[in-house]
């Protein structure tokens, strides 16, 4: 069967971007909004059609086939080359669905949200650019293509975070996001180089080809080892470094909270649903390698990074006041879930539960997290503030927002029968089967998640009303419709049998709910909700008391464990202070000075010897005769011996 038409999916946004970008001055706002939404609508339809086609009849004797359409884009060596093309397999199709859905919804939403903003067209151009890059990323056929679009995604996120470029905070956030991820990509690139050198290919099919008899990779490489680990393991770790950068895992997470400076739809699209899960996608993409190379040593690291990040983020999220930041940390924590799920997963059949769970959670999370952001967006739209303190009792003013937000919150907290419940349960199951420690922390995180989500929920929609300069009102249709759709998805999403579609080895298997684990998880979640209810449903000083009780710990949490400060110290003090400044000094006072010095020495020397020309011709005569005599002496000396 033929999926070549999927090439259109990235190309349509690209065309949009070019048109909108070049004529951004000419095209009036209304048109550009429509153009963007329309274009993404088409991709939306295409993606769903692809998914339908693929999952329905993409199987050959029970295994999902991989379809690749590519052209050779550039040759490095006779072996190494970059192809550009599309690769259709379960996870890429699933990602297509996610991305197109969210992107389409956000486009629709933005038409309302961004109304009246100058640079409206520019905004849609950026969105189009992002969608293009993201589609290219998920459809990438090889490691280098993924890197290319990886960078493009990064830059479009830079542009979108810095959309309000007159706001210094926005600019610095954009720079931070770009530079941090860039630093991570440095690792990614080196990893790519190593893989390229040792395996001689970047093509995913070749890299991931698994020999089912021996249960190992077909691929073989000169197994040189470096510091006790095989180079490929190093490469995979470095590649994951890139993934961690994009997915805001520890220690590269610092950019994500600041990224909330961007317009809220952007946060929803990029920093909640799609771009940030690129890291997860990358690991999933290379899962066979991660799993088989040195018995998944790299995978272990992935698992722990995920677990720690999720816990860490959840704790921080408890204390933040900026609702978008809370959501950002929750995103980070949820992505940690996915990562750890991958980390604890295995390859074959039902063993690969974690993989499936991770993808499943990626899907559902995209839906409800996007929804949460859009909701937060509409709230902010209404009262022009991000801060929890300024909110309260909004439920009567904006019912739709309220309901949809509630659904999303329930879903993320893992309350039964909502999407999040199912996916999270699978993750926990996977963790339970493989790694007790991680399992426990994940359960704890589940509780925390429920708590802070409902802290938000109650804080925004209940509690006592604040003074609003003008009475808040429900957002326009253009914004609410997407929210409603996403709300629907974040319930219905859970009932998709993912294990039938998306698995590590492309072979469907039967995954069924592990009621005993599910019970634990959901109870923990509900406990969290109840606590939140107690603390924040009504005005009371419980929370203050609590925070006082935890004094230092609270302070640390509130300051995000001082990660920003550490980074600041490293960059400002060490890189700038201890490296760059001395370098500049050295350049000025040593290198350049020496060059100038040569000149000055010559000058001063010529000043010194000017006495030779004393103006007295008798001295000249002495010079003359003694010169002759000296020459004579030297010559006789030279020439007698």
């Amino acid at each position: 069967m033929d999926f070549s038409y999927t090439i259109l999916i990235p190309l349509i946004p690209l065309a949009l971007f070019v048109i909108l970008g070049i004529f951004s001055k000419k095209i009036p706002a209304s048109i550009s909004g429509w153009m963007g939404s329309l274009g993404l609508g088409v991709t939306f339809v295409l993606s769903y059609y692809t998914a339908y086609q693929y999952y329905l009849n993409g199987k050959v004797n029970g295994i999902y086939q991989t379809f690749v359409y590519k052209i050779n884009w550039m040759n490095f060596t006779d072996k190494l080359h970059i192809d550009m093309g599309v690769l259709i397999d379960p996870i890429s199709v699933m990602m297509l669905v996610v991305v197109s859905t969210i992107s389409f919804m956000v486009h629709l939403y933005s038409r309302g949200y961004m109304k009246g903003d100058d640079g409206y067209t520019r905004f849609f151009a950026y969105l189009a650019l992002f969608s293009f890059s993201m589609f290219g990323l998920v459809l990438a056929t090889n490691l280098f293509q993924i890197y290319i679009f990886w960078e493009l995604v990064g830059v479009s996120s830079f542009l979108l975070i810095g959309y309000y470029y007159t706001k210094p905070s926005a600019v610095s956030a954009a720079k931070k996001a770009f530079i941090v991820t860039r630093f991570a990509d440095f690792g990614f690139l080196v990893g790519i180089l190593i893989i390229g050198y040792y395996t001689g290919t970047w093509d995913f099919q070749e890299l991931n080809a698994v020999d089912h008899e021996t249960g190992s990779l077909v691929l073989n490489w000169a197994s040189t080892s470096f510091m006790g680990l095989s180079v490929i393991t190093w490469a995979l770790i470095l590649v994951f470094m890139g993934g961690a950068g994009k997915s805001a895992m520890l220690p590269f997470h610092i950019w994500l909270p600041d990224a909330m400076e961007g317009p809220t739809p952007v946060s929803a699209l990029i920093h909640a649903a799609t771009m940030v899960v690129a890291g997860v996608y990358l690991v999933a993409r290379l899962f066979p390698m991660y799993y088989f190379v040195e018995d998944g040593f790299a995978l272990q690291i992935v698992a722990y990074v995920g677990a720690i990040s999720s816990l860490f983020a959840a704790i921080i999220a408890l204390t933040q006041h900026d609702i978008k930041r809370v959501l950002a940390f929750s995103t980070m924590s949820q992505i940690g879930y996915m990562i750890l799920a991958l980390g604890v997963s295995k390859y074959e059949g039902h063993e690969g539960l974690g993989f499936m769970a991770s993808m499943f959670h990626l899907f559902t999370h995209a839906m409800f997290k996007a929804l949460l952001f859009l909701g937060a967006g509409s709230v902010i739209h209404a009262i022009h503030s991000n801060y929890l303190q300024d909110m309260g009792g909004l439920r009567k003013y904006m019912p739709i927002t309220h309901i949809t937000f509630l659904i999303a919150a329930l879903s993320i907290s893992g309350v039964p029968f909502f999407a999040g419940f199912f996916s999270k349960d699978e993750i926990l199951a996977a963790a339970y089967e493989n790694n007790m420690l991680i399992y426990i922390s994940s359960v704890f995180v589940a509780g925390l998640t429920a708590f802070y989500m409902f802290r938000l929920y109650f804080g925004i929609f209940w509690g006592k009303e604040k003074k609003y300069e003008h009475t808040p009102h429900e957002s326009p249709m253009s914004m609410t419709i997407p929210m409603i759709f996403l709300a629907f998805m974040s319930i219905a999403g859970g009932y998709i049998h993912f294990s039938k579609y998306v698995t590590a080895d492309h072979m469907p298997f039967e995954a069924h709910l592990n009621y005993y684990l599910a019970a634990i998880a959901s109870t923990v979640g509900i406990i969290g909700i109840i606590l939140a209810y107690v603390f924040y449903k009504k005005e009371n000083n419980l929370s203050e008391r609590f925070s006082h009780a935890f004094g230092v710990f609270y302070k640390w949490t509130y300051n995000k464990f001082y990660f920003d400060e550490i980074y600041l110290f490293v960059t400002k003090k060490i890189i700038f202070g201890l490296v760059a400044t001395p370098a500049a000094w050295f350049d000025k006072n040593v290198v350049d000075a020496s060059m100038i010095g040569i000149g000055n020495v010559t000058e001063s020397f010529s000043e010194k010897i000017k006495g030779m020309q004393s103006g007295k011709f008798q001295d000249y005569a002495m010079g003359f005769i003694s010169g002759g005599v000296v020459i004579a002496i030297v010559v006789f000396y030279l020439w007698i011996n």
Binding site: G615, K616, Q618, A621, I625
Partner: protein
């Protein structure tokens, strides 16, 4: 050919004469006396030519003729030099070496 006197003595004499002239050229503070030292120098060479000719290569008179020209040249040089010195005297009313140090460095 002076018997009892080999060429070495005479060449020694002329060399001494030459370097006395050089010494004078170095040390005299008065342009005219410097001029005289030059006369010594030229004479030294003249003596050389004559003596070498007569002692070593009497067959041709190259040296002797040469010395004649040297003397003529010396005279011409002196004349011109004195003209120039006098011109300087007209301008600065002095023929001291120390008054010819305006151009330097």
């Amino acid at each position: 050919m002076i018997e009892g006197i080999s060429i070495y003595e005479i060449l020694t004499l002329s060399s001494i004469l030459f370097f006395i002239g050089v010494y004078g050229f170095f040390t005299r503070e008065n342009l005219i006396t410097v001029l005289m030292s030059i006369e010594l120098i030229l004479n030294a060479s003249a003596v050389n030519f004559v003596v070498i000719n007569t002692y070593l290569y009497p067959d041709f008179l190259q040296g002797s003729v040469f010395s004649i020209f040297i003397i003529a040249m010396a005279a011409a040089e002196t004349a011109l030099a004195i003209a120039i010195i006098i011109n300087l005297y007209k301008l600065v009313a002095s023929v001291e070496v120390k008054d010819t140090q305006k151009l330097k460095y």
